[in-house]
């Protein structure tokens, strides 16, 4: 069966520190992968998506970057965090545009 792992669940980081959030998928090949950010009580803002290894598309200019070093691994990074990077980050995958499966999310607080 397909599963998606996203970690850590909670993270508190100082301003200016680096960030690395990891997401891995099991049970499928060549999925579409997504990173979203959700502000409190708000919708999901698409940050990055990937349709294949090494292929990353960015939806909004920001202090973040993404990489897909392996077919089922998607990493969200930052070299220097800003206060405005705080939020709830969700990783998701889908196959050929169908139903999306979501990770448990990471609550990031930048202090």
């Amino acid at each position: 069966s397909q599963t998606i792992h996203q970690w850590p669940a909670t993270l508190v980081q100082p301003v200016g520190s680096p960030l690395s959030l990891e997401c891995t998928v099991e049970g499928t090949s060549n999925p579409n992968l997504y990173w979203y950010r959700q502000a409190a009580g708000r919708g999901l803002q698409l940050l990055f998506y990937s349709v294949g290894i090494g292929q990353i598309s960015s939806e909004v200019p920001q202090n973040l970057s993404a990489s897909r070093p392996q077919d089922r691994q998607f990493i969200l990074s930052s070299k220097k965090l800003l206060l405005s990077d705080s939020g709830f980050y969700l990783c998701a995958w889908s196959y050929r545009g169908g139903k999306a499966f979501f990770g448990q999310g990471t609550r990031l607080t930048v202090v």
Binding site: Y34, Y36, Q38, R42, G43, L46, G97, A100, F102
Partner: protein, 116 residues
Amino acid sequence: AQTVTQSQPEMSVQEAETVTLSCTYDTSENNYYLFWYKQPPSRQMILVIRQEAYKQQNATENRFSVNFQKAAKSFSLKISDSQLGDTAMYFCAFSDYGGSQGNLIFGKGTKLSVKP
């Protein structure tokens, strides 16, 4: 670019009654998927219902059904016999058919409260 609009930030309904959540979208594609997702306080995203744009028949899943109007680019969700467990954020979403473009776009959500 595709967009998804949910014009109702918050709604409430009495238990056992029916409520309809609105969603409109914009795309130049002819084939695509539309979804409604539910996000309870746990923040886990749960698929409620899915509609393929090439299908004229409206999708149904138990108490959940949609009214898909392709020409009007409208995709509303009807919840019948509302239950307290239906209290959650509801997101309408669009995905390109086949996923080759990688689009999976969400609306801003509607917060639904079911009152006893």
